[in-house]
Structures are given as structure tokens and as C-alpha cells.
């Protein structure tokens, strides 16, 4: 009996320490598999989720739920640049860019709404809906985002820069990410020697050097043209290095 209880406690400790709970995502996608063994980084990651066509089969046109964009930010392990703080910085930056572009109908985010945003993992609404969205309760937000058929869900991506040279909502977020990451990098690099600077590991180095900063997550059955739109926007924003989330398979496994 003693041995057994010892083992159970050990097992319990093991599972408690190794478990990482799945972050709630507005939609479930099944990623395709590849032989790449690189792990998804734990820190300093921007995940771009692309929703897939409805698989329930009760919709007249299943493709209405396809291609909705959601973003989530994960910060540094360091507490000053934790996920919560970095989300706040991203929001401030993005809203500033948006309001500079849309001077006729700017949006204002209250302190309470900003606080809500900082504690939201994944979101996908246009800027025009953002203040209203952040005033909802957590359950209402989940319900709102879960209804992918709603045209107000998903970060607008179409129109790769409009005629006035304005960025679309997705590009504004990407620009905000880049600006914030660059600011953090220059703050951290200040007063360091060149050797120390090259050792820096933050969102900026992940984005620019290693291409690990942005991970695109899409369903395996999503048409390439939908994914291509996201690629195109990333290329426009000069974020040419990024990673694609896949599941693992072995080389000997039959490919489909």
C-alpha cells in the first residue's frame, strides 16, 4: 500500500508539472502533419489562427465560417513583458495606428476595456467592434466569437492596403506587433555590448532573426487561397519569416 501511494503521488506530481492546459480557441482546427521536429516556442509568440469551413454540415454555405482571422499574443517569461503586459502595449499601439488612419471615426478604449483585453487570450474582431466586444462579459465574448458566421467576427484581412494606402485591420495589428517588438528590443539592447546584444532573445529577435515570432495555424482542409491571403498580408508587412503549425509524423508514414 505504501509503495502504491508513493507511486501515485509521484505520477501526480509528474502530470501536474508537465501539463500545459490548452488555451481556449474560438474554433477548433486540425493542423496538417509534417516531419519538422521544431517545437512551438512557449514565449514571445504571435499566433494567427485561420478558421476553417463549417464541418457540422447544418449550414447552407459552410464556407461562410472560413478564413476568419484570430490573433493571440504570448509574452516573455519575464514578468515585466509577460503576456498580460505585452497585450496592453500591443493594444495601445494598434489603436493609435488605427485612429491615425481613421480620423473621422476613431475608437476609444477605456481603462476597464484595456484590462479586459490584457486578460483575453485569443480575439478576432474588427477595430470598429473592439470597444463593444471588450465591454461584454467573458461568456458573452466566447459566444460572440464562437459564432463564426457573424460578419463582425474575424479580423478583416481582405484588401491588401486600400487606395489611400491605409492598412487593413490585420496589417495594423502586425505593424503594432512589429513596433512594440522593436521598441522592447532597443530598450533591452541599450547599454549592452555587441556580443550581449546578439544573445538577446525577445519577440523582435524571434520575429526578425529566427522566424519563430509568428505562427500561422490553419486547418488542413482550408483552401490554399485562404491561407495565401494571410501570407500575402505578412509579406506586405515585411514579415517574410514565419512558421506554420503542424502536427508531427514520421518520414515512413504514408503521406496523404
Amino acid at each position: 500500500m505504501t509503495a502504491m501511494s508513493d507511486v501515485t503521488v509521484l505520477l501526480l506530481t509528474f502530470f501536474m508539472l508537465t501539463s500545459t492546459f490548452l488555451q481556449k480557441e474560438p474554433t477548433i482546427v486540425y493542423t496538417p502533419s509534417s516531419v519538422s521536429e521544431e517545437k512551438v516556442p512557449m514565449n514571445n509568440l504571435v499566433t494567427v489562427l485561420i478558421s476553417c469551413a463549417d464541418k457540422g454540415g447544418n449550414m447552407e454555405d459552410p464556407t461562410v465560417t472560413e478564413g476568419k482571422i484570430f490573433i493571440s499574443f504570448t509574452g516573455d517569461a519575464d514578468s515585466t513583458l509577460s503576456s498580460v503586459n505585452i497585450r496592453g502595449m500591443m493594444l495601445d499601439e494598434a489603436v493609435a495606428i488605427y485612429n491615425a488612419q481613421h480620423q473621422n471615426n476613431p475608437i476609444t478604449i477605456t481603462a476597464a476595456q484595456k484590462n479586459e483585453f490584457m486578460n483575453t487570450n485569443m480575439f478576432g474582431v474588427p477595430f470598429s467592434v473592439l470597444p463593444e466586444f471588450l465591454s461584454m462579459s467573458v461568456t458573452d465574448r466566447d459566444k460572440f466569437q464562437g459564432n463564426l458566421a457573424n460578419p463582425a467576427v474575424g479580423i478583416p484581412i481582405n484588401g491588401n492596403r486600400d487606395r489611400d494606402g491605409r492598412l487593413n485591420d490585420f496589417q495594423i495589428w502586425l505593424k503594432a506587433i512589429y513596433n512594440v517588438a522593436q521598441r522592447i528590443n532597443s530598450d533591452q539592447a541599450a547599454g549592452l555590448t555587441d556580443a550581449e546584444r546578439s544573445q538577446l532573445s525577445n519577440l523582435y529577435t524571434a520575429l526578425m532573426r529566427k522566424g519563430e515570432g509568428i505562427a500561422v495555424k490553419a486547418d488542413k482542409d482550408t483552401p490554399f487561397t485562404t491561407v495565401q491571403e494571410v501570407f500575402d498580408n505578412l509579406q506586405t508587412m515585411k514579415l517574410n519569416k514565419f512558421s506554420l503549425m503542424t502536427a508531427l509524423k514520421s518520414e515512413d508514414e504514408p503521406t496523404n
Binding site: M1, S5, F231, F242, E251, D252, T255, N256
Partner: protein
């Protein structure tokens, strides 16, 4: 179990306490532990997602003379296609999506001249009995010099002659070795390709250590080749009605005569 006995070594010491046997019932604790273990086992995700690194070129207009032109002998173009069954990708008896690859060697002919049987069809098969099959075999034979050295490196790593880091850096150097004959692969996802088709294609590049590949949209010349293939083989590849969603990529890839 759960008894604490104080041993006095057999001798009676002066002022030694009376022996007390303490009994604690551990059963509820073990029960609870078991429940917790079950909970964590069911809720954890042990397998973390993997990532595939990708570097795309800039999408700004590049003037023709600045474009890197691959040599005719080195180039191989793969046009990807996924079969559809109504609105959903078609699956085979194992539940796997059916992807087709139409490939040709050399760069697309800008003069729109079609040599018979230029376009060949292949599938993603993977390995059968550790032997590369399907498109993987074609790509392997194209990159044989690199792959032979890569296999040697792999054997040395497996025999613990070199470390994983040494192997990785040597493999990267080997894949980029310009003294060897290496192919340039152009991956062209057609309008009906699913994301999985693209990932499979990039995956084949990694498996075959192909360092030079690009992802482009099919051109009119490619469409012409596909149309020719359709006529000679009596199949339908270009199905503009599968997906009626219109966006930039599909319009660029659409056929000139449809």
C-alpha cells in the same frame, strides 16, 4: 502500512516513552490521488504542436533582370491540386485527402509551346518499406548528390560519431553546397489545393534536403499545360466551380479561356 513504530533497540532506556502505534488510514488519500492522476492524464496535452519554418520572398514587383533565374536543367515545377468531392476535399479509403501533383522539368515555356507528355502526374506517397516512393523518389533522384552525403552524415550521427548539433550544422551546409548539383523546385499551388497539400510539398523539400524552392502562383503557361494534360488523359483538373469564392489568388490562377 501507516504504522509508526518507535524502536528502542531492545534496550530499556531511562525515561524512554511508552511505545505508541499510530494508525493512519491512507485509502482515501490514494483514492483521491488516483482521481487526480486520471484528471491530469486526460486533460494534459503531451504532444506539443510542431512548427515548420518558412521564408517567403517580398511580394513587391521585382524587375525581370533582378529575378533569379534557375537553370533549365535544374528547375522542376510542381503544380499542386487537391481532389474535391462536392464542397469537401475527397478522401481515399483510409480517410486521407487525395492530393495530385503535376510536375514538369525545366521552367515554364514562355512561348506557350507544349511538348507532348511534358506534364507528369505524381502523388505524395511517403516511404514504403523505407524506400522513397511517389514524388519523393523523383525529388530524391534530382537531389541525389546532396542526399547521399546526407545519409552518410545521418549514419555517423546514428553511430554516435557526431553530436546532434554537428549533424544539424553539417546537414545545413551540405544542403546549401553549391558545388553539388541541386534542383530548384517551384511549388505552384493550384486553385483547388488545400493547405495540407502545400504543407506536404514543403515537407518533401525538408525530407529531400532541397534548400532552393519557392512558392508561386500558377501562370497561364501552367494552365495551358494542365489543359493539355486534361485533353490527352481525359481527366478534369481545372474545376473552377468547386469553390466559388473569389479572391486575388484564384483570379490570377484562372484560365485565360474560361
Amino acid at each position: 502500512m501507516a504504522q509508526i513504530e518507535q524502536s528502542d533497540g531492545g534496550k530499556k532506556k531511562k525515561g524512554a516513552q511508552k511505545k505508541i502505534a499510530i494508525h493512519v488510514d491512507f485509502t482515501p488519500m490514494v483514492d483521491m490521488n488516483m482521481l487526480l492522476i486520471t484528471f491530469f492524464m486526460l486533460c494534459t496535452t503531451m504532444i506539443k504542436s510542431q512548427t515548420l519554418q518558412i521564408i517567403l520572398p517580398t511580394n513587391e514587383q521585382v524587375s525581370d533582370q533582378n529575378k533569379s533565374q534557375a537553370k533549365q536543367s535544374e528547375a522542376i515545377t510542381m503544380i499542386l491540386d487537391t481532389e474535391y468531392n462536392g464542397d469537401r476535399p475527397a478522401v481515399d479509403e483510409n480517410g486521407k485527402t487525395i492530393h495530385n501533383i503535376y510536375y514538369y522539368e525545366g521552367i515554364a515555356d514562355t512561348t506557350f509551346q507544349i511538348t507532348p507528355n511534358q506534364l507528369k502526374a505524381e502523388h505524395f506517397v511517403g516511404n514504403v518499406n523505407h524506400e522513397a516512393q511517389g514524388i519523393r523518389r523523383i525529388l530524391y533522384s534530382k537531389n541525389e548528390q546532396v542526399m547521399q552525403r546526407y545519409q552518410e552524415l545521418k549514419t555517423r550521427w546514428k553511430n554516435r560519431e557526431i553530436t546532434k548539433e554537428q549533424f544539424d550544422s553539417a546537414a545545413r551546409k551540405n544542403a546549401g553546397d553549391s558545388t553539388l548539383t541541386r534542383p530548384v523546385v517551384v511549388i505552384k499551388p493550384g486553385p483547388n489545393t488545400t493547405y495540407e497539400g502545400l504543407i506536404n510539398a514543403i515537407d518533401e523539400m525538408n525530407i529531400n534536403q532541397i534548400s532552393r524552392y519557392s512558392i508561386e502562383l500558377p501562370t497561364h503557361a501552367d494552365t495551358l499545360l494542365l489543359r493539355n494534360y486534361e485533353q490527352t488523359h481525359g481527366v478534369t483538373i481545372i474545376r473552377p466551380d468547386v469553390r466559388t469564392r473569389t479572391n486575388r489568388a484564384t483570379t490570377e490562377a484562372s484560365t485565360p479561356n474560361s
